[in-house]
Every structure is written in C-alpha cells, then in structure tokens.
C-alpha cells in the first residue's frame, strides 16, 4: 500500500509541475484528496527517499530519480487507458479510474508487452503524449515486415501475434535477431520469406505483426 501512495504522489507532482517549477502543497492536497498537513508529512518522507526536492511553504519538484519513477507510472497509466478504451471499448472515465488502480499492480514487462501489442502508441485516448519505453526504443527503427520490398532483408525485432501463431513462428525460426529476406511479395502484401534456409509463406495479417529492422543495402 505504501508503494502505491508513493507512486500516486510522484505522478501527481509530475502532473502539477508540467510547465511550472514547483507543485504547491495545497494543489497536491486537492488533487489527491487529503489535508495539506498529511501532504507535507508525505513530502518529507519522499524527500528522505530522494524522490523530491521539497521546500516547506514553497512546494515540491521531482528529482531525477523521482521523475523517472513518475514517468514510468504515467506511461503505465496511459498505456492501460489506451488498451482499455481503444482495444476493449471501456468508457473513458471508467478506464481512467481503473487504470489508476491497475497501474500500481501491473509489472513492467507486461506493460511493455501491452505496448508492443498496441503497436507502441504515441498518444493516449485524451491525446497526451505517452513516454517512450525501452520496448518502443527497440521498435523505433523497426517496421512491420510488410514494409520491406522484394529482395530486401531485415532482422526480426518483435513478433506480436497471438500465442498459437507465435509458438508456430518460433518453431519456424522467427526469433528476435534472426535475419530474413523477402523473396516474393504479392499485391495483397502476402509475403514469401527466406529464413533459416527455407522459404515460408506468410499472409498479410501476420506479416504486419512481425517487426523487423531493415538491413542497410
């Protein structure tokens, strides 16, 4: 529970310090829904733990460490929201509330997978930019397999299909860092791929979910 509170505070301060130097104690208290004295007490603790710079009567700002933590939480929140609204069709307000709860329990690796599943979205449902995670950095220079032209080759980065297909693809050698080349390409974007010494035909819908980094010709 304590961890949740820390995370909640950091996120709030991050939100309140957008465009300004310091977040006022009063504003923090209002945003979280507690009395200012409790906020002061909590901020002192956060200061001890090295998350915030806190000057009584002026306000608080995030340290490097606090900022990283807050950004991580915000990203989780936004990705959850995007998933709930965009993929599951949950209402925006409901999604916001539920994301607030889930962000504290979901693991980093699951969020990264959710991020890959969503195709590394840049904006959340209310159009705020989502911070890039490690998984996004990995995929920045990667493109769906369907972007490759006939004769081009690339290195597999991420395979984002359902489990059954993914297992089958893995047994065929579609693993991260494996090199493949496009042997044929039909107008429908179905591809004939050369990989691990044999040729595999892949339909468009699956090819779109295999991300590769283009090899420089």
């Amino acid at each position: 529970m304590r961890k949740n509170i820390t995370e909640e505070y950091l996120e709030t301060i991050l939100y309140l310090t957008k465009g300004v130097q310091m977040a006022k104690t009063k504003d923090i208290a209002e945003a979280i829904g507690v009395k200012p004295p409790s906020v002061s007490e909590m901020l002192m603790k956060l200061k001890e733990e090295g998350y915030v710079d806190y000057r009584p009567y002026i306000g608080a700002s995030l340290t490097e460490k606090g900022r990283a933590e807050a950004v991580r939480m915000e990203r989780k929140h936004q990705l959850l929201e995007t998933f709930l609204v965009g993929t599951l069709g949950v209402g925006v307000d409901e999604a916001h509330d539920e994301a607030c709860e889930m962000e504290h329990t979901i693991s980093d690796s699951t969020v990264d997978r959710m991020c890959s599943f969503l195709g590394h979205p840049r904006f959340c449902p209310d159009d705020h930019p989502i911070a890039k995670g490690e998984c996004c950095e990995k995929s920045v220079e990667s493109v769906p397999l369907t972007e490759l032209k006939e004769g081009e080759s690339g290195t597999i980065k991420i395979v984002c299909t359902d489990k059954g297909t993914r297992d089958f693809l893995i047994s065929l050698g579609f693993l991260p860092d494996v090199i493949l080349s496009i042997k044929k390409r039909l107008p429908s974007n179905s591809l004939l791929v050369r990989i691990k010494g044999s040729e595999i035909a892949i339909g468009r819908d699956i090819a779109e979910k295999i991300y590769v980094r283009k090899a420089v010709a």
Binding site: D177, S198, A201
Partner: protein, 636 residues
Amino acid sequence: MRPVKVALIGNPTVGKSSLFSRLTGIGVIVSNYPGTTVEVAHGRVTHDERTIDLSDLPGIYSLDTSSVEERTVLDFLSSERPDVILNVVDSTRLERNLYLTLETLELGLPVVIALNMIDEARALGMDIDDHRLSEVLGVPVIPTSALKGSGLDELIHALFHPKTGKPRLTRYDRHIETFLNQLVGMGLNIRRYDAVKLLAGNSDLSKYPEGARTAASMMRQEMESTHNEPVAETMAGNRYAEAGLIAKSVMHHRPTAGMTLNERLDDLFMSPISGFAILAITLLSMLLIVFLVGGFLEDLIVNSFETYILLPISGSIVGHPLVQVVVRYTLIGIQAGLGIVVPYIMTFYVLMAILENSGYLTRAAFLLDEIMHRFKLHGRAMIPLVLGFGCSVPAIMSTKALQTRRERVVTSSMVCMVPCSARSIVIMGLVATFVSIWAALSIYLLMLTITIAMGFVLGRVVKGEETGFVMEMVPLRMPRLKDVIDKTWMQMREFVYIAFPLLIIGSAVLGVLQYGGVLSVVNEILAPVTTGILGLPSYTATALLFGVLRKEMALETLAVLAGAPVAHLNLALTGLQMYVFAVFTTIYMPCIATITMLNRVVGLKDTILITGLTFTLALVISGLIANLVPLVATLI
C-alpha cells in the same frame, strides 16, 4: 525376439512417408504438401529374421503442444514408447531440420538420423559431411534417398544397432543451464527433457510434481525479468543458434552459378501476374482434362461393355423373370461403375497427385491466401476445397490441419458444396452428355457461387478465433511416376473395394425391389417433392435415396430405373429434368461417408446443421430452376 518399435519423426515434407513406404513396402500417401499425414501409419519390416515395427508420424517443426500434429506425436511417444526414433532430415534444409533433431535428442531415447534427399542436396551444390554430423550429434547418421532407395540397408542396420552413446544436447544460456541442473537435481525423478519442458512452461505440465512446477515457475519469472523475453523463446533461440552452428560446421555450400531451373519456375509461379495466370490456366485445364479424358474413357468403356458383354448376355438369359431382372440390373450396375467411376475419378486423382507432389499446391495456396481472406479464412483452407473436387471425405479430413474449430467448420461446410468426382459423374454423365457441356459448366459455376456465398456468410456467422496464414513453401520437385500411380491407386482403392461391390449389390437389390413393387410405394410417398416441386418422374426418388449412399449411385440407379442403359438416358428424361436432377444431387446432403467424416471432425451438432442446410438449399435452388426455367421459356 520382440520387434523393435521405431517412430519416424521429422519436419513436414522431408520424405518420411516416402521412406516409410520404401522400407515397409506398404503404400502410404506420399505427398509434397505440409499436413498430408494427419494420422499415424504402421508397418513392418523383417530383416535377417528380426522385425521392425515402423510408425509414420505427422510432420512437425517442434515438440511443443501447440498444434494438432505435435500433440499427436507427443501422445504417440508417451503411449507407445518406441525403442528407437528415426529422425528424417531433409538435407536441403539442414539448419531448420536440425532444430527438431536437437529437441528429439533431448527425449533421451536412442535416435537414428536419416539424412534424406542427399542426392538433391548434392545437386544443389551442398556437400554434407555425414560422418562429422554423426560425431557432432553422437548418433548414427545415414545418408538416404527415398527417391532412389539408396542407404536403406544401412538404415535398417542402424535401427537394429542404435548407438547408446552420449547424444549432443543443446547448450542453453548459462542461467537456463543452471536452472535445468537444479530441476534435475531436485530428486523428483525429473530428466533433462522434463526440466526443459518445465522451464519453458508452454505445454501441459500437470503430470509433473507440484514442487517441481512451483520451482520452475519461480525460475521462469526470474529469467523473464532479467532477459525481458519468455524463457521458451530464449531456449528456442539457443536451439536455433546451435542448429545453425552445427549446420555450418558440417556443410559446404557452393551455390550454383545463376538461377536454377526450379528457381526460374518458382519466379514465374509466384510473381503476381504470371502466377495468377498460371494458376487460372492450371485449374481450368485440370477441369477440362477431367472432362475430356474422362469423357473419352467413358465412351470407350461404356460402348465396349455394351457391345461385348451387356447385349450378348442379356440376349441369352433364359429362366425365371426375376433371374432375368437381377442379372440385367447387376450388369447395368457393373457397366455404370466401370464406365463412370473409373474414368473421371482416376483422371482427377492422377492430376491432383501431380499437382501435390510437384509442390505446386503450396504455391497455389500462397497465391489464393488473399481470396480466402475474404471469407475470413486463409490460404491453407484452399487445399481442402481443391481436394473436395476429388472426394469430400479426404477433403474434410484434411481440414484437421487447420488451426481453429471455426476454420474447420466453415471450410468443411464449403467442401460439402464443392462438386466431388462422384457428383461430377452425375453432372458429366447426365448434363454434359445429353444437354451440353455449357450446361454442365453452368452447374459448376452455380456451385462455385454457392460455395463462395456460403463461405462469405459462414465466415462471418461462425464465431471463433481467426488465424493467419503461415506455411512452409516446399521445394519444387519432379513428381515421381510411381508415387503418382501409388497415390492414385490408394485413393481409388476405396472406390474399387467398397463402392464397386456396393454398386453391384445395390443394383441387384434394386432389381428385386423393382420386381416386388416396393420401389413404387417409396416413390409414391416422395412424389410430392420429386414430381411436385422438382418436376421429375416419381422414380427419381429411389435414385436420390441411393445417392445418399454414394452420390454417383444416384445416376447409376437412375439409369437402372429408367430402364435405359446410361448411354440412352435422354429417352427417359427431358434436358431440364436432367439438369434439375443433377443440381439437386449435387447439393442435397453429403453422402454417408462424408457425413461420417464430418461427424468426426466437427461433431454431431454441426454435422446435422450442415446436412439440414444443404438439403434446404437443394430444395430451394433446384425447385426454383425447375419452376422458373419453363416460365422464362414461355415468356421468351
């Protein structure tokens, strides 16, 4: 001495079935299309008074449990406990094949490797050092060519004397190895293979002790948090890396200069424009060849049977009228069987065998993926539909290779609408012969439309998971005459042994029933449908009933009942009646054998639904044709 139990394991289309049939002399269907072997075939070889029991298992890419084939193989391994595993490896695709080999070695059973298609690899400029490979893997490696039959004696010898040395085990990531050793060392009777399965955690682990499962899942979590990818994936990566290293160390590849003939052909087959043109030409010419060659053979057989057997015998029988009727009906039955079943079905299967074994069928599936996509199916579902032109039974059986139940239901329903060779016999024998070839083609067009409409509707109505198209493209190969003949014979066998006697007995029984007046009662009862809705003579009811047994029997029975040889049916029916009869026969409920197979693949409920649907469709469509055509004719 107890027979040695040997299981053939290997990737799809590496020649397991060829090798199996070479070794045992037992015909199994040899194919160049992934997923042809869905059921296990058994055979026996005796050599120097010792016996080997061979089992041909479906082709798989790994020993996971995610596909039907993989489950079949694993179930077989755990229930049958083979003494030796014969791992068949395609020399031309060594790296990919070694992945499964490495997994197989982990099983801890004696393994013998058949380095198959060694001659093809050599022709491609690949030089594989089999001695070195044997040293590296720690198991016997025998170069074979199922095609030429070379290396078989050595292989049998190796199967009797599998080396029980130390096979090469994949060296996984350092952390994984530590965990594997910990799991094995837990004292819970866990072998390395079990430890690998436990740690990978992507299969059913319920048979392992609770403690081991908990430990493995904790290890898995730890691995995943440091490596940022599922353990199973790390392990697969390790295995592939190892396979790549081994392949590189034993193989010298001197690529032949320029494109080989096969590569040139492949380029034509799969380039957008030429590819679709060739596909259209292939499918059309296939239908035409079946019509023309089948028609030619039919004339030949029917006429000579009539001149040399039917007329002389029926002219010379004397005795009780019942005997006369029975003999006459039996002969007509034989004539119909020989004259109709053999020519069309044989021609179709010969062509199909050529397409399949040459590897063209996989190219066709690739090209058609986009079209199948519109039915929310994928290219793989095309194959059962093409097979359906031969016989619905193997076609529906082949839908087992599809991944989801939804695909199986939709595809099976569509297969039921594809005119199989038996239905083609009715269309050809009745409509093409007596009305016109164009009228016959229009029925095919009608069926094509119905099939497409059905796929379109069912693809949206039937709920379930949708999967995409992934399929290994098999190398183009020159189909071997013997395989083609064997395969044709094996598929014909069913007709010859089961359909033919049924047909002859059916005809004789029909003769007796006719004589005893039973048929007219049945016909009376069904007359409201046959005569009322479809405008057909009432005796067609009997023909349609027999058609449920086998579709082509509808035509044969019709001939018998009309009291005319097949060659003179036009004296008994009008063109429109023949057309309606053919359409109705083509659509109305699948034959008994198909229904049985449907029940096995999609279950009773859907079988009943499909059967009901087809019956309704048949009534509506042929009813419409029967009633609208005369109407339109009078208007014009």
